[in-house]
Symmetry: C2
Subunit: 224 residues, 2 copies
DNA sequence: TTCATGCTTCGATGATAGCCGAAGCATTGT
DNA sequence: ACAATGCTTCGGCTATCATCGAAGCATGAA
């Protein structure tokens, strides 16, 4: 049954990651769902068999996309029902709570803290967001220069946007990507506020005690 | 998550049973799904928590209905995806194969044989079907009179339609309901072609050897 | 009251399926 | 040719959850 395919949290996360219409590689989807490539492979095979996604081979990558706008429509409907029932839940997903709190998404900060950071930036008008597009305001530039010693000219890149919203699978909300997201994460590391977990391959980000305090001072929202 | 609710076979069967819009009691739904009342109760509690069904207390019965046409719409969409993927599958559902082959649905024949019967009637132009609406053709009336001694005037009923398509949960296709469906089942019993199983509460219908042959002669499709 | 029916809760069991480590192909790059 | 990357397959572990027996509450009937 199709519904059971969507029912699994890992698969649901993959599908929501594909909801923007773009195709993603198997490993990207694995990252999105917080599972290992082996597990993702198994899931993707099932989704393909169920006709929900279609693979496209390209070099040694395998890009997956939703087969059809119809599929997106049904997923949308499902999400609508879920929202109505107050079911914006945090369900199982990956078991590691640390992974949910703070982790690396490619090269920037994701998880609870990542979402919180973008929320704070938006709320204080340091950035303006329209869907996926994020723009740094003049106040934002001053803020970055003052507190994190990041200047706009550090952020230019030929092919990559400065700011970009990245959908967070554990929170189902956006966090900050792009060169700015990467630069901020790098700065956190340099300032010894945070460091990637020692265990190889882990995406967990551990904050130091002072790092946690500084981060909260800049991006805290008072309720934790 | 809502999808996981629909994903379970037992719950899916209950929901499809409710798709006609009418409300059913907890025990009726248990029967539809082929599970015990305890299990059904647990499932219904989850469906209610998920906002998919709403209970209505009435005496010592508890009637459940789909909360919303929206719910029905999403379920429909899900079924559509499933159909497209060739996923007309026979999954676990009730474990009893006899129940899948032939059973009582209220007062008419359901299961594999029920679906086969309606298929045959439709194919031979003895009935015309438009969605849920089924109409008996003149050829159909002659056929019934000749082979089953059923005349049209036996079928009139103030509030109940003569013919109606009833969605079969094990086959996910239609079988024949309405007064005609009931009359035919009654006739099969009278002719000693079939009888409801002796075990109390069972919905299984057992065909006699001659009954099976006669039934196949009238409604067989050659491939079993 | 006493009994029967419809439904729910509790507890224990068992099977399904997600998950990961290890190893195996395939493709690309050097 | 060799190594590295991306992905898949296989095997075993574990947790989740559907399932049912037994018992507990209701409601309605006698």
């Amino acid at each position: 049954m199709v519904a059971s395919l969507v029912g699994d949290p890992a698969r649901a996360n993959m599908l929501t990651a594909l909801m923007n219409g773009r195709a993603l590689t198997a490993s990207e989807l694995a990252q999105e769902a917080g599972i290992t490539p082996q597990t993702a492979s198994s899931h993707l095979a099932k989704l393909e068999a169920g006709g929900l996604v279609e693979p496209e081979k390209q070099g040694r990558h395998r890009y997956y996309r939703l087969t059809d706008p119809d599929v997106a429509g049904v997923l949308e409907g499902l999400a609508g029902l879920a929202a109505r029932a107050g079911h914006m839940r945090v369900r199982t997903g990956p078991k590691d709570p640390a992974l949910r709190r703070a982790r690396i998404c490619y090269d920037h900060l994701a998880g609870d803290l990542g979402v919180q950071m973008l929320d704070s930036l938006r709320e204080r008008r340091l950035v303006k967001q329209k869907k996926q597009e994020i723009e740094l305001t003049p106040e934002g530039e001053r803020f970055l220069a003052k507190h994190l010693q990041i200047s706009p000219d550090m952020l230019t890149h030929p092919r990559r946007p400065v700011c970009k919203a990245c959908l967070d699978w554990s929170e189902r909300r956006h966090h900050l990507a792009g060169t700015l997201g990467a630069a901020m994460m790098k700065r956190f590391t340099e300032l010894k506020w945070a460091a990637r977990d020692a265990t190889p391959g882990s995406r967990v980000v551990n904050f130091t005690r002072t790092g946690e305090k500084q981060f909260a001072a800049l991006f805290g929202n008072g309720h934790d």
